[in-house]
């Protein structure tokens, strides 16, 4: 279950980064610790929100979900179940695709690199990697057999 511990720790870091960017977006923080103003340029661009929802807030929600599933997957009833790891891989996969799109926007459209966004992109890739490694370590689910199912009728004798 080391991969779930790793994804939980990484998701917590991602959650903090997203929370920081989201709080800045809401005006709760003074200045972004970014150095050259590139983070602010990215965060104030029209691409920093989707349908009125700040992208940073989407990050908060996404990382929180990964954190919750990772921690749940460490609890005794779920520790041998496969689905928490599958859920982590699916969520991280969506996150990686979204991060790739945002990174493309930074490079090709906004032409500014937000360091915190890059940190977040690295974190989500690392979570996906941890999830994939975890999937390989888990035994595949056993095929279902029912004791009440009658055995198949014998086929014709082989010629």
């Amino acid at each position: 279950m080391t991969h779930r511990m790793a994804s939980a720790a990484l998701a917590l870091l991602g959650l903090l980064v997203s929370l920081y960017l989201w709080l800045w977006k809401t005006g709760a923080l003074g200045l972004l610790a970014c150095g050259d103003g590139a983070c602010e340029r990215v965060q104030l661009s029209p691409y920093a929100q989707i349908a009125g929802v700040p992208v940073a807030f989407l990050g908060v929600v996404g990382y929180f979900a990964i954190l919750a599933v990772s921690l749940a997957g460490l609890q005794e009833p779920l520790v041998r179940r496969r689905w928490p790891t599958d859920a982590i891989v699916i969520m991280a996969g969506i996150g990686v695709a979204f991060s790739a799109y945002l990174t493309y926007l930074e490079a090709a459209v906004i032409q500014a690199w937000c360091r915190w966004c890059i940190v977040s992109a690295v974190i989500i890739v690392a979570i996906l990697a941890a999830g994939i490694v975890g999937q390989r370590g888990l035994t595949p689910p056993a095929p279902r057999t029912s004791p009440s199912t009658p055995p198949p009728p014998p086929g014709p004798p082989a010629s």
């Binding site: 511990m5 939980a8 720790a9 917590l12 870091l13 903090l16 929370l19 920081y20 709080l23 005006g27 709760a28 923080l29 003074g30 200045l31 972004l32 610790a33 050259d36 103003g37 602010e40 340029r41 965060q43 104030l44 661009s45 029209p46 460490l74 609890q75 005794e76 520790v79 459209v109 906004i110 032409q111």
Partner: protein, 221 residues
């Protein structure tokens, strides 16, 4: 299982606490105050005094050095500006001076500052100031921002012919260069920077922080 996870949970708790502390500490960042001897700029002197709102008899004068492309300046203008105008300027407590400080690191800022001067020529500086800050997304990412700025100017009903003639003449470039040089001579290199009484403070201040400095400057008179 739960027992073996205890160090892990403690580690997560430490990360969460450290992160929360750093974010909390970032709340007030940018409000470092220094005492300065603010040299006055006489109206009508060699250097343009700035764009002024508020009563000449207001007990406190605030000079804002701002760059139109600076995100923190936009944040300040959007989040704090309306409160300042309503609660400090309109009530006669503060005379506000906006001094252009286009920073060389910003690609489109000179065009924006020049557009604001051209709108100011028609008595629409503050309207253009708000348009520029509130619509960063429309002109900052552009390679050639002139068209977007022109649209913003037209939205506040400036005379199109006079605006276009002003922009093409570049006649306010010397003023902007002079304001840059004046700010550099005062040791101001970041925006927004405020001079409030004898104190200088940088960063996108919240209203409460600014009000505290205004009260301090009024009390020191």
């Amino acid at each position: 299982m739960a027992g073996s996870l205890k160090p892990f949970y403690i580690g997560l708790g430490v990360i969460a606490l450290a992160g929360a502390t750093l974010i909390y500490a970032a709340r007030g960042r940018g409000g470092e105050i220094t005492d300065v001897d603010v040299p006055p700029v006489a109206p009508g002197g060699a250097v343009f005094e700035g764009h002024v709102i508020g009563s000449d008899s207001a007990p406190v004068t605030i000079i804002e050095y701002a760059d139109f492309e600076c995100p923190a300046c936009a944040q300040f203008a959007i989040l704090t500006g309306p409160d300042i105008k309503q609660r400090l300027v309109a009530t006669g407590q503060v005379r506000w001076i906006f001094r252009d400080l286009p920073l060389s690191m910003h690609r489109n800022t000179m065009s924006a500052h020049h557009a604001a001067q051209c709108a100011g020529e028609q008595g629409r500086f503050w309207e253009m100031h708000d348009q520029i800050f509130f619509n960063h997304g429309r002109w900052v990412p552009e390679r050639r921002p002139e068209r977007a700025l022109r649209d913003l100017a037209h939205a506040i009903l400036v005379d199109r012919g006079r605006y276009d003639e002003c922009m093409s003449s570049n006649r306010y470039m010397p003023r902007l260069r002079q304001l840059q040089a004046d700010a550099a001579a005062r040791g101001i290199s970041s925006t927004p920077t405020f001079e409030i009484g004898g104190q200088r403070v940088s960063g996108a201040l919240h209203y409460d922080e600014l009000k505290r400095l205004v009260d301090r400057a009024a009390a020191a008179r």
